[in-house]
Amino acid sequence: MAAATPIFTALAANRRIGGVVALLALLLAAGLAAAHRVELSGHAITGMTNHVVWGLPHVCALFLIVAASGALNVASLASVFGRVECKGLAPLSALLALALLVGGLSVLVLDLGRPDRLLVAMVHQNPTSIFAWNIGLYVGFLGLGVVYLGLLIERRLNRFAAPVGLAAFLWRLVLTSGTGLIFGLLIARPPFHGAMMAPLFIAMSLAQGGAVFLLVAHLLSWLGAAQPAPETERWLGRLLGAFVAIQIYCVLLLHVTHLYAARDLAMERFLLRDGGLYPLLFWGGLVLLAGALLPLLSRRARPLAGAALTVAGGLVQLYALLIGGQAVPLDLLPGRVVRSEFGDGVPASYLPSLPEAALGLGGVALALLLVLLGCRVLRLVPEASR
């Protein structure tokens, strides 16, 4: 492919952008109002309990954080792997990564029991906590991402983009591993515990982030930016198909290895067959992901449809993993059947509340607003003539 230097421009104002911004601002306001309400009344007004301690907001936050890492795929392809056809999309890729991470972290922070103590988390860090490590990884990624974005859009500094891009690429692999290990290091929770969570989350990030990038690129072209070149989009779609296949492989591997252990059989029966909503979501999500492979990999490729199915399947899978994993009864006394008024020994129930949904959607809205703001004030979308 010809190595033409892309020319970047800012997204011009138009009525469509105004409408989308108004809608997103409304969703963001609803999210902030929900967070305020929960802070005043307590988490009792949410569906989260002492069994399911992390709920829908965490599903949304994790999706955004994981997708943030993967959204940088296109920039990495340009800077690290020398794919010149991706250069025109690289700045958007970096901006999207930053915006998704800010959106996800905002949801996580606003769902804290004491969000006003964020500063405490910044100045008192427990070195044995993977959560504390992740705070450093997220802040580092934001810093690295801002520098990387600057180098990508400032023509005179483009030559420095490759080493910083490599650093960002390696950083995000560690970051996504760290996010997966928030769960993988939980020795008391068999649905999560294990090293497999790190590669699973990396696979999720590559697939979900890649899919979100394609969807956002199309949203921007609908709002007046240049359409990505069809051949580039098809190539990105095929790559996305490979990432989705890896995600499916990791998910299946996680469950197959559990199925082999007699002590985990009851848990797997719950998650895959008897657990009501959760097996439905697990298999439904898997079908959506597998269904994404057809439009992504077939000869008559439809990358946008594939990306939409990937995002839908990824979200559903994440919900089944995170909430289903907490709904599994803990084995308090191995070999015995336990019962209590607290609900020991029986699956935990969880029904997401409106404030939780509003908070999660607020994070998505914030991420998209930041993307639109960035595209409006910075020259980072390719010119329409290209």
Partner: protein, 237 residues
Amino acid sequence: MTPRRTFLVAALTGAGMATLAPGLLLIPAQAAAGADPARRFAILIDVTRCSADCTACVTACQAEQGWGPQGLGAADPHWVRKVEATDPTTGSTLSLPVLCQHCDNPPCVDVCPTGASFVRPDGIVLVDRHRCIGCRFCQMACPVKARSFVAAPQDDQRPHMPRGQGTVEACTLCVHRLDAGRQPACVEACGRDGGGAMLFGDLTDPDGPLVRALAARAASSLRADLGLGGRIRYAGL
């Protein structure tokens, strides 16, 4: 500088300090005061003497620490709860109180991002509520679900046990009583109103009743297979 600029700088500095100070300066440092590093308090629970219909330990804990059902279902706090365990082969049933095991290697302390979950010098696992940000990671990490999240506004709190909404809490082994030379409320109530199933003592006292009882009977923590150790030992499981 012009007066306006001076005023702006002073106002911004003041606002900044007012914002930062609570987080940076007001975290109490005396959380471990009173703990004797030479002692290792523990409770031995004889489950053969714990009857299913007795909740004396739960009631005493609620009265002592000021927690109880608020109609929130599974979001209600539970510092200690009664659990029935049935052997599926024989059908034999045991009843036992489940509370924070005060692990030797507590996963809640390992995962806490801010260090709010900590181990006192005498081995008791506590939560510094001034430092807890309410992330609930410790709840995810606890193998016996001994921790609760304060999910609603609280009133009628005990002077020795302020319960902050939005933070996590659990059994403190009644440190306020231990530091005053008394036994935990649950142990006292079990001896007075229950089956006398709980024996409190110091693991470092070789001639004490607890060590002698542990030498005479096999006892283990809950989920001993995880290798976390613990100060709550169960005999007769």
